[in-house]
Symmetry: C2
Subunit: 318 residues, 2 copies
């Protein structure tokens, strides 16, 4: 096995990406990360999922929250509050350094891909962390209260709104970056991390051309279900799936990805779903998928890769 491409959103995806980095030579790993949550705050370009993956792979993540930097302080934010700013988005002092440098790089004409590469490299990350595209894309959440920007829905309103639909503004003009394209071409296996299928993996799959590349790929593509025992381990994926008319289960994850998926890793709690998933022509592996420690991450990653190695690409007609 030479090269792994993982697709990830924030905290849950970052955990498995970290496991993959621990389970195999880290420089053989590329993580394609959702950037449709990116937004601008105080004039700074914030990339929440990218940063969560980067900090996690660098071993610097706040292990209590899963996002942000361990031991960070909030002095700048407190001063912004004193200046009368609405400080609804939690940004630490260390974290500000990331946003300041990324913003500066973009203003100097760097691509998002290059800006993120330089930051991750400086933090000692050997894996390649790739934004899903270089163009700005913005997830818009449709709710009974109206259309909300993603961070407004997710952070400010703490994802309590019912989600009736999701749109990715700007996705039509997004393009597969040379780096994402090359990583996919070079991959021997691709892993869909246990991230929200609608708002984390969804935008990545919506980058024009990317989903077709997955469909046409000849390497095994395996997903790890973010739904365990009928619930999302983190975040609103469960409520979001339900309000959009889906069954809240690993079966739905397999259905949402079935057009390109070789296999899915589901939790022991969901072993009863095996037969139903098998009808989708998706192979199933049952294991303990909840990652509470670095060991859990490494073990689940190794288990997922071993499972993938047993699979050949599912029949092309699927």
């Amino acid at each position: 096995m030479n090269h792994i491409v993982a697709f990830a959103g924030g905290v849950g995806g970052a955990k498995l990406a970290h496991g993959l980095a621990l389970a195999c030579p880290e420089d053989r790993l590329s993580v394609v990360v959702n950037t449709a949550d990116d937004f601008s705050l105080y004039g700074l370009h914030i990339s929440p999922d990218i940063d969560t993956v980067t900090y996690t792979l660098a071993g610097l993540a706040n292990s209590d929250t899963g996002w942000g930097l361990a031991g960070d302080t909030f002095v700048t934010l407190e001063m912004l509050r004193r200046y009368g700013q609405d400080t609804w988005f939690w940004l630490g002092d260390k974290d500000f350094a990331t946003h300041i440098l990324r913003t500066e790089a973009l203003r100097r004409g760097s691509t998002l891909t290059a800006a993120i590469r330089d930051l991750a490299t400086a933090l000692g990350v050997d894996a390649q962390i790739l934004p899903m595209c270089n163009e700005p894309v913005a997830t818009l959440i449709e709710t009974p209260e109206g259309v909300l920007e993603f961070q407004d829905y997710f952070v400010r309103r703490q994802h309590v709104d019912e989600v009736t639909g999701v749109r990715f503004d700007g996705i039509d003009t997004a393009t597969l970056s040379p780096e994402v394209s090359a990583a996919m071409t070079d991959s021997d296996v691709m892993v869909i991390c246990p991230s929200n299928p609608i708002v984390s993996i969804g935008p990545i799959l919506s980058v024009p051309g990317l989903r077709n590349r997955l469909r046409e790929s000849e390497v095994p593509i395996v997903a790890v279900s973010p739904i365990v025992g009928g619930q999302a381990l983190k975040g609103p994926a469960d409520r979001m799936l339900a309000s959009m008319g889906h069954e809240v289960s690993a079966l739905t994850i397999a259905m949402l990805y079935r057009d390109f998926l070789s296999g899915i890793v589901i939790d022991e709690q969901d072993a009863a779903l095996v037969d139903r998933i098998a009808t989708l022509d998706v192979a199933v592996h049952v294991t303990q998928t909840v990652m509470r420690s670095d060991d859990d991450r490494r073990r689940l990653a190794a288990d997922t890769l071993a499972f993938a190695a047993t699979l050949t690409k599912r029949s092309v007609e699927k």
Copy 2:
């Protein structure tokens, strides 16, 4: 006395400006501040003298250094260092909030004057803090080693270089802002604070039209000498004056400003200079000018205003 206009650079000027704010109704005070030290760092617009004046008037300045904010921490800077940045310029976490918001305001099309007004207002400063102009101007320091940018000379190289000349890049296209112009028109007295005459007051006086406005003004204009006992109380003004061929004394301050100056406040240590200064047709007031406490600031400011009130504008032919 209705309205005071003070002209100031950084620490020394900020102290007297603070004294003026304490000695009279603060909202009657406008401080015109040097911005030729402004520069861009990590993509942020830094205005060192403006911030020193603002923090000092807000009662938030670090009293040990005279610049920066009391109790500030340096977590962001430490992270920037971790990212491989050269962190030669000391920026605190609270301080970053200022730079982030000013930069954002400028990028949104605000004038520097408006951006600074909003920040100072949010910190409860009732005085009007005015940049000397809205256009970018950059002090360049000519040394035997070549031409240095101001902060390179001042901070990075700790002003050890011999200064053979000073230029203000961009000054030709700078203009007197409506706010500075109005403040001068409305003033009943103008005060040149004890700031470096070459690189703090010098740029302000070089804004096209400003020096003429001082010459033509009919209100008393008094300076407080930053040179006491043949030395600058802070910074390289003494060495700079010497290397540019000037006597290092309050007399030189009076000479540099004599075309518009009504009077000068000098320190008791320099009482022997009274007769020589009088030959310049500049009135002299001798007092204790070293400001070690808020009381010193208030007293010197009140003393300076009382002295100014005894003066009529010096004869126009001067």
